[in-house]
Amino acid sequence: MFRLFKTLNRLALIKATIAAVLTIALVLIGSRNLQNFDPALIAYLIGTVFAIFGIAYRYSVWIQRPPTKLYWRRSMQFLFSKYFFPYLWRSTKLFFRNILFQRFIAYRSRTRWFGHFMLATGCLLAFAITVPLTFGWIHFVLKPGDETTYYALLFGFEAGSFSLGSPLAFIAFHGLVWCSVLVTIGAVMMMKRRFTDGGLIATQSFENDWLPLILLIAISVTGLGISYDYTFLEGKTYQFMAVTHAITVVLFLVWLPFGKFFHIYQRLAQLGANLYKTEGKRRGMATCPHTGKEFATQTHINDLKKVSKELGFNYDKEGGRNHMDLSPEGKRSALATAHLKARKEGGKLFG
């Protein structure tokens, strides 16, 4: 037990606990002391609180690594500088383009982007619908005397109403069905690549690459099953559908902090990396002493020298130089030059 505590990361544990407690507090406030909480969703609630704990823990451990910490610190420093507004605007644009729409994947391949976009959009929309429902933040009620108008309660306050059978009701109650369809199409497209692409076949693994896709499809199919059941089977298979769906979703939530799905929130760092480059360019570029060309920002090179030392690498050379002052091409040439010299000294140029 003692050993376990030693290997656990204390700072991360504290942050994760705060995140979990804060979530529970918001659930209590938002659902008016559980008045608006739907008891049928208890398994989902526990799963979500666990996921938030796990995500906060993993994220915190992750940003303690020297290179990650540096990016984190720099992103904050550059954002909250005198260029706050232009940088905020730029980051917001990129948030839509690269995070919500993941457009950069299209440069890897259009079908890859389309498949992922379907899968991610379905999943993000589903989060947006289910999380507030699970937490009791959104709750629908009928008022006595009026059997056809639904009132939506947001954090316990009335936030709107719609009549049964209206288009809004249709969207609200079938939103998750559309999400499942998007996720299934996306996941099947991604799966197809894994059957046919030689590079993926050689490097993929079951738990890191196949399981996430299988799990997403399982969640979608069992979710669609619930809807199919009450629409066409009059709820005859409800128990089975509801239980299998809950199991797959809870598995997903519990796994969210660890495996492939870590990238969903880890990728926000992409915005930081972009800001880092933009501000770095403004501060000035580094020129390679070998090629005489600009190849990176000077801030980046200076930071990397520091970070690599922290990680136990020291590329310092005689005369205050450092191997990292060279561009990639400069480094390749330096190696070839040293090799030619050694070959000349050895007397046989071609071995």
């Binding site: 440069y107 692409d197 760092a269 980046h300 450092n322």
Partner: protein, 189 residues
């Protein structure tokens, strides 16, 4: 990683003095399925104004890879055979830390795709017991993939070296560079 037939008797031997700058390896590299038609190998003039010398560079698959250490996204993975893989496509945030930190100048950043890609020793081929594409086409054996006995027979006056000194930093690698007999380290001043 899935089941493989990776042959640990086989190794990579590079002799950049033998590179004639023909770019055949570049064409072959683009055939490798793990990098989807993008060529990862580097062929460049060393000092174009003064000499026709060219050099060729594959990933050296460092024992303690600088690239993976400086990656803020934990996107670079070294497998049980010591092969250092190309960036994990869902994790890499395209920050270029690895591009700028690798002492051999190997990783490439695909700007638009926000992804680092690099040589992974043709893992689709080597994991099936085949040779990397580049080594199968190199006409001058600047790139050679085979057993230690084979290379000793071919180059009796040379020594495979897998230790490098960049200033203060020693880097040991899986890939060898052919050096004069009796050399133990290539020192890059």
């Amino acid at each position: 990683m899935p089941e493989t037939n990776y042959d640990q008797e086989m190794a990579f031997f590079v002799d950049m003095q033998r590179c004639i700058g023909c770019h055949a390896c570049e064409m072959a590299c683009a055939e490798c399925e793990t990098n989807g038609q993008e060529s990862m190998i580097h062929v460049n003039y060393v000092d174009r104004e003064k000499s026709p010398q060219t050099t060729v560079q594959v990933c050296m698959h460092c024992e303690d890879p600088t690239c993976a250490n400086v990656c803020p996204a934990d996107a670079i993975h070294q497998d049980e055979f010591g092969v250092v893989h190309s960036a994990n496509t869902s994790r890499c945030i395209g920050c270029s830390n690895c591009v700028l930190a690798c002492p051999f100048g190997v990783p490439k950043k695909m700007e638009e795709a926000e992804l680092m890609m690099k040589c992974n020793m043709c893992y689709d081929r080597t994991s099936a017991g085949k040779k990397p594409m580049c080594a199968t086409v190199c006409p001058s054996q600047a790139l050679f993939f085979g057993t230690k006995e084979e290379i000793e027979r071919m180059r009796p006056d040379s020594e495979p070296v897998n230790s490098f000194l960049f200033g203060q930093q020693e880097v040991n690698t899986k890939v060898n560079v052919m050096m004069p007999k009796g050399t133990h380290q290539l020192i890059i001043p």
